[in-house]
């Protein structure tokens, strides 16, 4: 049911873990099935230097988290904000229709982490 790319990212997820002093953290819950994802970002001069994630969810949720980190490392904040759920699913060569909602987690958590970073910047 999953593409080879999904299975690869599920079995060998990239950038799992936490960042000790993150520039921003974003956590989202999936209202459809109750799964949770947390993303940590490390930002320097508005460039995303590092991303780590932790996910409690299905194979698609873990794979989308993983590829999402790959897609945004090295990107500017503005570029990262343009990342859509569809783009994440596409980068995995597609997801089964009933699993499309899982791809929402990754991009949403990332956008939240960036919002968190921005709020912290403004507070400074």
């Amino acid at each position: 049911m999953y593409t080879d790319k999904v299975m690869d990212h599920f079995m060998n997820p990239r950038n799992v873990g936490e960042i000790e002093k993150p520039s921003g953290v974003g956590e989202v819950g999936n209202p459809t099935c109750g799964d949770i994802m947390r993303i940590y970002i490390d930002v320097e001069d508005d460039i995303i230097k590092d991303v780590k994630f932790k996910t409690f969810g299905c194979g698609a949720a873990i794979a989308t988290s993983s590829i999402c980190t790959e897609l945004v490392i090295g990107k500017s904040i503005d570029e990262a904000l343009k990342l859509t759920n569809e783009a994440v699913a596409e980068a995995l060569d597609g997801l089964p229709p009933q699993k499309m909602h899982c791809s929402n987690l990754a991009a949403d958590a990332l956008h939240k982490a960036i919002a968190d970073y921005k709020a912290k910047q403004e507070a400074k």
Binding site: F10, G34, D35, T55, G57, C58
Partner: protein, 395 residues
């Protein structure tokens, strides 16, 4: 890679003797059992031999067995058949919250037709409470349908006691024995039930065949109309190869039941002990009133589908009540009915044993599982090592 099939609750491999019997039936006895000639008579003999074997499996008389297309049709035939026949007497049906969808959805469909349905709750082990049943019975109750053992958590209901109360009240008693007939001793007279569903593919027979036991004198209407086959209760030319396979499977189950039951129980207990020794893993279902083939555990902080995928990569086949594995994205209605919170139902794993499993299979599972759990937990935002502690052992 080693492959370990632990999803016998979903379906079982067809027994070689069953395949042989089915092939012989198709090759040598293609006749229509209703025909007068020798071809028909030979087919009829196979049909009736199969009926005897299935009857023997559940302690019934052959003429009380109606072959169907499986457990689902048997459940529907029982529920709709009684509802239609007894409508003048009453319109109330009692069932339980942990039934298979074949029963629950049939009852739901009757609700739309104006029947009143009471869905009994269950306790933390998935067991129906006798007091709840007593309180739910009304003068207009015509049918009570409660499963013998649950397909997800393996809890065995006190059907004998339930039936006694239902019969005293004057209602008809149906039990879905799809998970028990062939796996534990089932005797319709010992249980006292009027109707009982069984299925072939859960006991090493082919898919798409099952039966409904109908106690002599039970009033019910057929769902389909046509020829006179199966005492007009299920007309249509019989699925003879399937029925022959079911008969053979029933014969083998009757023969091997005592031995297999004790072997399965040992393997099951080893799995349960192994799993519950892992911190924050809890057994779902009843610790002792439980199918010998069923293990169902909740593994905290991880999600069932990702666990199944990782197990599959190691050749191990299981199933889960996680929302993520269900088409509807709802967690198992059985686990929720038992009061298990959503996030714990999420991490549920069902492993169901069968004849092809060995001690070495259990060794293998218990060797690879802790590693997989550790890996998924390390990835989980809900897991905090410091808080993890061994769960209380099951009494």
């Amino acid at each position: 890679m080693r492959r370990v099939y632990l999803d016998h609750g979903a379906t079982t491999p067809v027994h070689p003797e069953v395949i042989e019997a089915m092939v012989a039936c198709m090759r040598d006895h293609f006749g229509n059992p209703s025909s007068v000639h020798s071809f028909g008579r030979e087919a009829k003999k196979l049909l009736e031999d199969a009926r005897s074997n299935v009857a023997k499996l559940i302690g019934a008389r052959p003429e009380e067995i109606i072959f169907t297309s499986g457990g689902t049709e048997a459940d529907n035939l029982a529920i709709f058949g009684v509802a239609r026949a007894m409508r003048k007497k009453g319109n109330h049906i009692i069932t339980s919250a942990v039934e298979h969808h074949a029963v629950l959805d049939a009852c739901l469909a009757l609700k739309k037709e104006g029947f009143e349905i009471t869905v009994l709750p269950v306790d933390e082990y998935g067991m129906v409470k006798i007091e709840d049943l007593k309180a739910a019975l009304r003068p207009e109750t015509i049918l009570v349908t409660i499963m013998h053992a649950n397909n997800e958590v393996g809890t065995i209901q006190p059907i004998k006691e339930i039936t006694r109360i239902v019969k005293e009240h004057g209602a008809i008693m149906h039990t879905d024995a799809v998970q028990t007939a062939g796996k534990i001793p089932v005797d319709v007279n010992e249980l006292g039930v009027d109707l009982l569903s069984a299925s072939s593919h859960k006991i090493y027979g082919p898919k798409g065949v099952g039966c409904l036991y109908i106690r002599k004198g039970t009033k019910m209407f057929p769902l389909t109309h046509g020829g006179g086959q199966e005492r007009k209760r299920r007309p249509g030319t019989e699925n003879l190869p399937g029925i022959v396979g079911f008969g053979k499977a029933a014969e083998i189950m009757t023969r091997d039941l005592p031995e297999e039951t004790s072997r399965m129980t040992k393997l099951r207990n080893r799995l349960i002990e192994g799993f519950t020794a892992i911190p924050e893993v809890k057994l779902n279902g009843h610790p002792t009133d439980r199918l010998p083939i069923n293990v169902n555990v909740s593994i905290r902080y991880i999600e069932g589908e990702s666990l199944l995928l990782m197990l599959d990569m190691k050749g191990i086949a299981g199933s889960s009540g996680s929302a993520c594995t269900s088409g509807s994205l709802d967690p198992s209605h059985v686990l929720l009915a038992m009061g298990i919170p959503h996030e714990i139902a999420h991490g549920s794993l069902r492993l169901t044993l069968g004849r092809d499993n060995s001690e070495a299979d259990i060794d293998y599972v218990l060797q690879v599982v802790p590693e997989i759990i550790e890996r998924l937990r390390a990835m989980s935002p809900l897991y905090d090592r410091k808080e993890a502690q061994a769960c209380t052992p099951i009494k």
